[in-house]
Amino acid sequence: MAWDKKDLLGLEYLSAGEILTVLDTARSFSEVSTRSIKKVPALRGKTVVNLFYEASTRTRASFELAEKRLSADIVNMNVATSSVTKGETLLDTVKNLCAYQIDVIVIRHAMSGAPMYLARNVESSIVNAGDGTHEHPTQALLDMYTLREKLGDLRGRKVAIVGDIAHSRVARSNIWGLTKLGARVTVVGPPTLIPREIEQMGVEVSYDLEAALKDADAVNMLRIQREREKLSLFPSLREYAKLFGLSKDKMAGLPAGIIVMHPGPINRGVELSASVADGPNSVILEQVTNSLAVRMAVLFLVTGGTSLHPEHLSA
């Protein structure tokens, strides 16, 4: 399917066909990172700015590596030393960057909707690397890429997303993407962490982890933010781990081949015990590896790449 979108703001705004286009394009790029010279010219001459208003290690490293392996010129904006501290607005900051004829801005921001706000106001492509509690589309794309590698077609597959759904952009992007590709999604967590009326997004809700996973093909264990404990959204991490963490004992009652995912970074002993995180069902490091190919595909497509030619991938 042809790609005609300037930006990647969220999976709500993509069709199933467009999602599959990204995933299929990613498969073609995945081989690049296995070469001894890990570089192709697909984005040669293009400029990408990584504008991170929130702390990030893996997403930022992954984007940066993806850009470098595509031969883009890149600038990393360190927010601590940027104009934000001088009171400049987000839009002014980005308009100033765009005055350098930037092709792509990869942005992470603490406020939901910030990437869409920018996309309406500037000509450069905006790639959402996580906005508030709204969407984290490239994370969901790499989760789906990983699932497709393991399960093939996702139609009719059952995926559970467990944890702080209310505050999770990963959950929202996965819900949009998975339901568009025909998977059945159940969100699991304490009622205080399940946002209101989420059933209307086409998912089932469960407060019972083991019941929800009984017939699941995969489970995505979200990171729990330690601050939530203080807001009385749940009494303690200890109780959370007992009710919603995956331990070796609980795994014993689940389908043998269930795929365990986590967007990272893991709170070991809370969402996942060490034995599950490092165990045979875990695909956590494969998710990280796949993130490169998925982000290369996204950057390629938003900069106008429609179909992949051999010269894009030549060394």
């Binding site: 909707g113 709204h134 209101r196 009326e197 209307q200 997004m201």
Partner: protein, 428 residues
């Protein structure tokens, strides 16, 4: 100075007047009125031919923000009054969240002086409940009433202290003025930026539950019933709120309330692309809430349509959604939006709409002199065209601000001539 308005369709719900007729104005007061043609003997300095137009009492807005003193870059008494008369409003009640707030008689005097200088619409200031709107100790309400405030409110800030709310409801009984409350329990709204529901879930924006408004409305109704004070619920937005007010009225509680044109015509589904012109507090609610508000208009539970005209500059609105200021302007869009979306679509009768903009708010203010075309009433009149279609264009507003969700709407209903105390203050 005498004027005769003839050939217009008089529509004055206060007198159940509905038909082609005439009005005779003398020295700022309505001297006579009737159906058909004026009697031959009436002499007038000026004759206005209102053929094809509706002639109603001038509209009264119980809730607007004129921003003066303190934030004149967003609006001033002059620009706000220009917007008012352009929208058919002859009287506006301005909220006290100015800088400094209207918590002292001197500020009331300043607003009156400037309104007199501007000489467009009648401006009725609302004083604060508490000193500096801090919700701690009562403002000098007696002095404020003497200076001319028509109600008290800490608008924008709810009165969170139930003890203070009890005191102000009791204290104001001797003045007969309403205590106007912005009902919100801040512990429940918890820095929310839009209605809590599937759309806040989808957009990942922090939700403001209907419960935060309902809990406070319920408290206010209990306290008004207990003290015998008068409470006016500002911009009610929830279905349960309307139901509780209906029940309280039936029990004899002295409660009135208002709803805004935007809560009556829009829902939280409109926030799809984080457009900050749809951000206000209380937020746009669900369709079920909107339908309940319209029922409340029709059955008399809701007493008035009020704009909550809240001007903001682009600096306050052209930012990330979380950071954007709350509020939209409404004086120049209230009539066309309500007429087009409620009356034209048969949700509300034309007479009831006019009542909600005229005698309804006049009753809340306790005035007999306004909100009607009865002889002896002030000659505050709007001549308006219900038939021709026009496009709302924010760039053409008289208001200094442009923050409206209705820009570009094709609407019907436009004030053609607005008369205040017998003098024409706006002519389209």
């Amino acid at each position: 100075m005498t004027t005769v308005i003839r050939n217009g369709h008089l529509l004055d719900p206060a007198q159940r007047l509905d038909g082609l007729g005439w009005l005779h104005l003398r020295d700022g007061v309505i001297a006579g009125s009737g159906l058909g043609q004026p009697p031959a003997g009436i002499a007038a300095d000026d004759t206005i031919d209102a053929t094809g137009l509706l002639v109603s009492p001038g509209f009264i807005d119980l809730h607007c923000h004129l921003r003066e003193p303190g934030e004149e870059s967003k609006e001033s008494i002059e620009s706000g009054c220009r917007a008012a008369v352009a929208g058919g409003f002859t009287s506006v009640c301005c909220m006290p969240n100015t800088t400094p707030p209207i918590d002292h008689a001197a500020i009331v005097k300043l607003i009156h002086l400037e309104a007199q200088r501007v000489n467009l619409a009648n401006v009725f200031p609302i004083g604060t409940v508490s000193r500096n709107r801090e919700g701690k100790e009562l403002a000098d309400i007696g002095e404020l009433v003497k200076a001319g405030v028509v109600g008290v409110s800490d608008d924008g800030n709810p009165v969170t202290d139930a003890g203070l709310m009890r005191c102000v409801l009791e204290y104001t009984r001797m003045f007969g003025i309403p205590v106007i409350d912005h009902c919100e329990d801040p512990m429940l709204s918890n820095f929310g930026v839009m209605n809590e529901g599937v759309h806040s879930t989808r957009l990942g924006l922090r939700g403001i539950p209907t419960a935060c408004e309902d809990v406070m409305i319920s408290r206010d109704l209990i306290l008004a019933g207990y003290t015998g004070g008068r409470v006016h619920i500002a911009h009610v937005s929830t279905a349960l709120g309307v139901r509780m007010i209906r029940d309280a009225k039936a029990r004899g509680v002295r409660v009135t309330c208002e709803a805004t044109p935007h809560h009556l015509t829009l829902t939280d589904a409109a926030l799809g692309d984080y457009d900050t012109n749809f951000k206000m507090n209380p937020p746009l609610r669900s369709e079920a809430d909107r339908v309940a508000l319209i029922e409340g208009l029709a059955d008399g539970t809701i007493d008035a349509i009020a704009t909550d005209h809240a001007p903001h500059s682009a600096t306050g609105k052209d930012v990330e959604f979380d950071q954007a200021a709350n509020g939209i302007i409404g004086l120049e869009t209230a009539l066309p939006v309500v007429y087009t979306k409620l009356v034209q679509e048969h949700k509300l009768s034309l007479a009831r709409m006019v009542e909600l903009l005229t005698s309804g708010p006049a009753r809340v203010l306790g005035t007999q002199a306004k909100g009607t075309l009865e002889p002896g009433a002030d000659a505050d009149i709007v001549l308006w065209d219900a038939s021709s279609t026009w496009i709302i264009d924010a760039t053409a507003f008289r208001s200094k601000s442009r923050n409206t969700p209705f820009n570009g709407w094709a609407v019907q209903g436009k004030a053609v001539r607005t008369i205040v105390a017998g003098e024409t203050k706006h002519k389209a």
